[in-house]
């Protein structure tokens, strides 16, 4: 086989692709077994589902006026977790997403803020970030308009349908 500049370029490209594939596979599999990975995914989705429920008002402590996050943020729209940390005028400084979650709980909802280190706050973040997965991380300004995510059906994450109405 004659070695040319073109064949070297192809070989290098192929090598890069194969390496990337091998890395992706090993990163997924090692050091975890398929069962362990399934457990981790189940734990993540459990947290996402808890966040979904909290987002839609499952914790009475987070409101005294009846409002939940979902009133203003259906499908987590306009929550923009991927734009945090960002400067918000009501704080006068750069804050993380969880600070904004508690601002909404304490202000429009007039509820009791979540412990920022609690499983509940992690779940709220898990839900909002899960729905915004694949969006570029863009720490930004409060004034920036962002386009909500598209949720085709269901809750926006894998879940077991109830079989009621259209969610079969």
């Amino acid at each position: 086989m004659k070695i040319t500049r073109k064949s070297i370029k192809h070989a290098v490209s192929l090598s890069v692709v194969l390496s990337a594939g091998a890395f992706a596979t090993s990163a997924l599999a090692y050091p975890f077994t398929a069962e362990q990975i399934a457990e981790q995914e189940a734990a993540l989705l459990e947290s996402v589902n808890l966040g979904y429920n909290l987002w839609h008002g499952s914790s009475p402590d987070t409101t005294t006026v009846g409002l939940a996050c979902g009133n203003c943020h259906p499908d987590a729209a306009a929550s923009n977790p991927q734009t945090f940390p960002k400067y918000l005028p009501m704080f006068g400084k750069v804050v993380p997403f969880r600070t904004m979650v508690n601002w909404c709980i304490e202000n429009p909802q007039l509820g009791k803020a979540l412990d920022v280190n609690s499983d509940e706050m992690a779940a709220m973040e898990a839900y909002a970030f899960y729905l915004h997965r694949s969006r570029p991380i863009e720490p930004g300004l409060a004034a920036k308009q962002t386009q909500p995510i598209v949720v085709e059906a269901g809750k926006g994450f894998p879940w077991k349908p109830s079989g009621i109405g259209v969610d079969k």
Partner: protein, 340 residues
Amino acid sequence: MADMQNQSRRQFLTFTGKVGLSAMVAKAVGINLGMVDIVSAQTGKRGVEPFRFAIISDAHLYSMDNHKFDQQLADAVAQVNAMNPLPDFVLFGGDVAQNGTEDQLVKGKKILSELKMPLKVIPGEHDWYLDMGKAWSGLFGPETWSFDHKGVHFIGLNGILVEDFWTPAGMSPLERMTVMEMLESPIPGPWGVHAKQLEWLKKDVKDLAPDVPVVIFTHGPLWDYYPRWNFQTSDAPEIREILSKFAHVMSFHGHVHQTVYNKIGNMTSVGALSTSWPWPYPPVEKPFPASQMNRVDPSIATDGMGTQFIDLKADGYGIYQHNPFEEGVLTEFLAAGLKV
């Protein structure tokens, strides 16, 4: 007939030419001749007398005493009562209540009773699904109605009807209501007005002449804006077909808690600001992107909310003006008023 139309058109053009010259002279010397109404009066529409009406929508009242949404609805009523000129009447676009309880509906009726002018109401899903409209109907009357006012035909429909998902599932009224309260609930499916109201609508407009301006009022839009959030009415195509004989149809709706404008065939469509909270814009292209209001500031408690009014002219067309509680939310396109 064609000759008559052509002759009328020639006469009209001659007239508007003269009016146009007069208007230029008047403008030069700072005189307002009220040209729009003079010209419109000559366009052959059947006797529309110019008037104003207002829209208030989506109060979402809770049961707590002195809830902030109570005051926001009261502010909307005060805003309409302070308009000059006063609207002839007010349309309420649905969702008086948040959870459909009688106390919430009664509270809404009491606040709305402070309006200086008559009120016509259509239901929203939050008013309806606790008792399937029993309390709402007792307080506000029929959910389907029409009336004529100064040459314009007004129609109100119940556009939040869904197929029965609760009986097979054995759900309680409260469970049914809870499902319907969530905007992005995967359970209920799309709303509509359903067959009975479509038949009613056919009969209602059967004898109306095609040049009568029509206003149709539903909770959701009569076009597919974003069906996942029920920013739609499933049988809107049938409604538009029934109204297709009219030269000019104006569709006004609540539910979306935001400004949005569209034109489909003979119909213009405009969404109302709520008095409770604004909703984010859904992830779809808008037919008129400039009809999207500016970003709402969450730290201003009533930003992105308000009322709206429509000034109908003698030609049956009008200007729809959003009237927000806070300044800065309207784009130039919106602030100029939407042609409807």
